[in-house]
Symmetry: C5
Subunit: 195 residues, 5 copies
């Protein structure tokens, strides 16, 4: 991958910035599954288009299940020329589902390192929601925010740097930065869904 | 692997499509175990034949246990020229069996990334079934559907894309797409076997 | 590794078969530990000799514990020219022992993929047996059967293919193929030791 | 990475020492997340500056979550020329958060090995603190000490060697070296927060 | 790594033996942490010296915590020319400590495979001991025995082969080989500390 980095002074430090990719325009990959009960790939594509990414820069593929995502993403990077991937998966509620989700996550982590390319894991666990309607809302929120993150990583890294440590969350409301004046600390407790 | 990708417009996005492989006709590998109590490899081969795959394009190998599947699949890809693998395993009911199954799955995940080739993990857990008859039914359903998925990944990716987010399941009935009008959400609960 | 594969018709499919290795005669590696309480390496060597493998084709090494097996096996393959390895380990009964065994298994899985060579994991857990005498019996049975499997993988793959899905077990009696007429399904329950 | 090592006698052994890097002056990378509720990256940068590291030798990047840290660190090493990375993450209090943190840690471990470069994992778990104020204190202490460690690894390895086995802790008070005269052993019990 | 292997007949099999390394004299690396409460590296160095290893063949480095050991060991092998490493770590008593220890172990396993070099994991868990004095004894025993094992692996492999399956233990008394005449099997029970 032909990356160019520019170090420039920002307050008292330097910021690493990706200024070009190996295409004239970076390519986005979206991969989702038939296993999910919501069309996650469509949501990611719409979110990228809403960010102003031209359709011809967006590539999409669907695989059977989340264990097929990592290699699909790797092939889209290596053979399809994608510069970043949004990998969408839905994890079932049983223990074996969670173990499989863990295995899929580890493979996505490895695929990123093998390609030196970001693959954003937009996973939703079915038991995060109590109803189909809530599940759809969580999916739409999380996948959309991961697609925006993909855009920022690739083309607007300063949007991320200025939000460092602000408690951003995908799929639920942001929890905000830690506030020493806040004494109840409710956001630190498991019940507060900080995932 | 010599892959060719073609981006074409589909609604408001582009679809990545594998159009050729490095053989004139893609090769399918099937690997199963002597440990399983059902001849899973035979089921996979029959399902591929039923999809119209010519026998000479199907390669089969049997290894002792599921921990031997990943390297066997890798060798079938590297030295045997297979373009996709259906890896069939049966996981026993004890805790140590499940840990071994987890280790086997991780290795299959790595083998996919090292070869940039899909290896579909057609695993059945013995405790998914209450009787031998049910076990055989689950195996036949799951292995067959994974073989069909292998065919779609390699030769008909559009079949997968049009089923994105439709709640497809291997081994049990599909659960269907999420429906905001459905309020009982029974399919979100562990008892509903979404594996 | 210079492998040659031959596809030939077997019933309605083709069978992948390894016909030659990079030596005129394939080499077997056996690695065991000082940690085990049974000389597992000796058992493996005797089993290979009983299969008719000439002594000069068998290489043996002993390492301190099972966490040393994976790299030892890899070196025996890379620098010692072995075509397959039987890696023998004994896992203690405590939780930390089991975690270490899990780590050792993962490394063995990776070593196989990095070398594209089978490393058969002949592990016995000390809590599988209630007495030393039973432990010795389990070890002898399991290590011997893994050594036979190594021989079949390397030189008689058809022996494995014809046993596909027959419920073969190492260390205990085989459980046999699933039988739809059998209704009690006792072999599906954890108590039946299908490991 | 062009490293030079010098072995010199120290008491009765030799100490490995990194004397030069491939830059005239080694470069430090800091990567943090928008997910955290404290600006961890700023703390790391300030700590490096306090160690006398010139601003132009410090590179910073922010990614969405801790699962994005490993590949970001790898790219900062490979394409950004960093010689060491401080990777800052905050792990939420739920079980799924902890699993994701585990996955992120494994990826950071792999990224280190793939680049032969240290990536210091400065992770704080939200449930280590009972209030926001305490969380901020733990973060400041831990991130600062990891930044100092990064400086010592790269430029003052003798500072680490002389502290070998002294019970140093990041984020809480050091527990000190084991003392045979101490009989209560309170520091060995889980309640004593030796993390 | 330039290794030479010699196969020679030993009873009814052949023994793989490393006869030379790429140095005239093999080099030993010792890496430990500031996190530990005992100077583990010093113990390892003293044990190597007691084995007759010349000081100039022993290289030592200290890193902050056990998660830094794997990459440090890898660099000592690759850039420092070490032929084997003794990696010393102390794992705290809390659940998160144990998870981190697991992650560190997995990385050490991978580093061994990536370098085809043994890295002996000399880890002590703080909750193995009830007092500081006992902790020091366990550490001294285990680190010393791992250092001796390193020496045997590199220069006296026959010492290991003749102890195959003898129940050797590091840090506690050896448990001895399994004895069919022994009926109480107390050493098979968790309480007997076979770790």
């Amino acid at each position: 991958m032909s990356l160019m980095w520019k170090g420039d002074q920002d307050s008292d430090t330097a910021v690493v910035r990706r200024v070009t990719t190996h295409h004239s325009q970076p390519r986005y990959g979206v991969v989702d599954t038939t296993f999910a009960t919501v069309n996650m790939g469509d949501i990611a594509v719409k979110a990228l288009l809403a960010q102003g990414v031209a359709p011809q820069r967006i590539f999409r593929r669907t695989v059977p299940g989340f264990k097929d995502l990592a290699v699909a993403a790797k092939v889209m990077i290596e053979a399809g020329g994608c510069d970043i991937i949004v990998a969408c998966g839905m994890v079932g509620p049983e223990a074996i589902d969670k173990q499989c989700g863990h295995e899929a996550s580890l493979a996505i982590g490895q695929a990123q390192l093998m390609t030196s390319t970001h693959i954003l894991e937009a996973f939703v666990h079915m038991d995060e929601a109590a109803t189909d309607a809530e599940l759809i809302r969580v999916v739409e929120n999380r996948v959309t925010e991961h697609a925006v993150n993909a855009h920022w990583i690739l083309e607007k890294p300063e949007e991320l740097t200025k939000r460092a440590g602000t408690g951003a969350r995908q799929g639920f409301s942001d929890i905000g930065a830690a506030d020493p004046a806040r004494t109840e600390a409710s956001h630190l407790r498991p019940a507060s869904r900080t995932r």
